[in-house]
């Protein structure tokens, strides 16, 4: 957790001292789904589709202007893949766990709607076997999304979140097996979360 402590410290230093120190903490639970992780060719085309991945996200953000916040989010996702191959039934393949750390800027759009854009790093953690056996390299992930304020009670706000992210997917095992280049992967997710604002 050296990285996250370092980033949090950097964010704290970046937050202008003149602004009211309203720190926002958030926790959310959602699901992410997306485009295929890989394509393979062994007598016929094999498509490695990703299943919906439950994802837990924790975040902290600081005001950087009157309207905008700079934040850091850590997310842990638990997914799996399904291989689709002509002539065979669809098969549940290996499962995977992702850990990501993204920095983002968010600000108001209209009414209860806020935008969020950011970038960070994502890692597929090592699993027992299959394409995730050795985990993956650190991948750049770009994110965009919206948060919708649903209900506010005191310092707590219930939020609905829609997130898009983009990564260039590969794993160490795929590279070891001779796969080259990377796969564009687009993911879209929906979640519900709680924000806590500390004045």
């Amino acid at each position: 957790m050296r990285i996250s402590s370092c980033c949090l410290l950097s964010l704290a230093l970046l937050a202008p001292a003149a602004l009211p120190a309203q720190v926002r903490y958030s926790a959310s639970l959602g699901v992410l789904g997306g485009t295929p992780l890989a394509h393979d060719q062994l007598f016929q085309e094999i498509e490695v589709q990703q299943d919906l991945a439950p994802t837990v996200t924790l975040g902290v953000s600081f005001p950087v202007s009157k309207r905008e916040f700079l934040g850091l989010e850590a997310a842990l996702g638990f997914g799996g893949v399904t291989t689709v191959e002509p002539g065979y039934p669809d098969v549940e393949g290996p499962s995977f766990t992702t850990l990501s750390l993204t920095g983002s800027v968010d600000g108001p759009v209209i009414g209860p709607l806020r935008y969020r854009v950011g970038a960070g790093l994502l890692k597929y953690l090592p699993e027992e076997a299959g394409i995730f056996a050795e985990g993956g390299p650190l991948l750049l992930v770009l994110t965009a999304g919206t948060d919708v304020r649903l209900v506010t009670r005191g310092s707590f706000t219930l939020m609905a979140r829609i997130r898009y992210d983009y990564q260039r997917f590969t794993t160490d095992q795929l590279q070891f097996s001779g796969f080259s280049r990377t796969q564009d992967v687009h993911r879209l997710g929906f979640g519900l979360g709680v924000d806590y604002s500390r004045p």
């Binding site: 905008e68 893949v81 098969v91 854009v117 770009l142 590969t170 795929l174 080259s180 280049r181």
Partner: protein
């Protein structure tokens, strides 16, 4: 707001130039298919492929509890499981031999049953064999598939290594790799001397599990 948002979206659009992963060509392989003699207006040979159907995975292995054979079998399963990217093959040990797909015994191979085909690996100080019964038609694999591993020189210092090679080699046969590799550096060489999978072993297993099978497992 709009400037930050637009800059972020533009960044994503620029970086998201289309890229697709490129899969390797797996031509490092040997022929794994079973050559079956049959009679149709004269003796002929047929070359047939088999792999366990996806709904039979993990394959159920009953392994005789003697001389660390179970430990050797677990090592063999782990070795072969790592050959696959998408979980095409896996196996687990079961206690009840009645429901097993594969039976591995610490036993000198008995006389070959009528109609069965034997793949034998003879190494000192141990040897192994796997029998495949192609059933009434040559398009079946009668379950259970039977493998034998036997220590011919029980006090030989190289016995443990030999048992490791041969057990993994026989598990390779039970997976559907029904021929021997011509290369001595492959685990599926007729006289196995390694306890790891070569690139050809991996390529052959991957090819076998995506090649349309001619044979189906049947339980009598």
């Amino acid at each position: 707001m709009s400037r930050t948002l637009l800059a972020g979206l533009a960044g994503i659009a620029i970086l998201a130039a289309c890229s697709d992963i490129v899969s390797p060509v797996r031509n490092a392989r040997y022929d794994w298919r079973l050559i079956v003699a049959y009679d149709s207006a004269g003796p002929r040979l047929d070359t047939l492929s088999f792999h366990w159907p996806r709904n039979s995975v993990p394959v159920k292995l009953w392994v005789e509890d003697a001389s660390d054979l179970k430990a050797r079998a677990r090592e063999g399963i782990a070795l072969w499981k790592d050959a696959f990217l998408y979980g095409e093959w896996d196996a687990r040990l079961v206690d009840d031999s009645t429901s097993a797909d594969v039976i591995i015994r610490l036993l000198q191979p008995p006389p070959l049953p009528a109609g069965a085909i034997r793949m034998a690996a003879s190494v000192e100080p141990c040897f192994g064999a796997t029998d495949v019964d192609t059933g009434a038609t040559r398009f079946e694999i009668v379950l259970p598939v039977r493998s034998y591993v036997f220590p011919s020189l029980p006090n030989d210092p190289g016995l443990e290594d030999c048992m490791r090679h041969v057990t993994s080699h026989e598990i390779g046969h039970t997976m559907g790799l029904f021929q021997h590799s011509p290369d001595s550096l492959d685990l599926m060489y007729g006289v196995p001397a390694v306890d790891f999978l070569s690139e050809r072993d991996v390529g052959t297993a991957e090819n076998a599990y995506h090649f349309t099978p001619d044979m189906v497992p049947v339980r009598p």
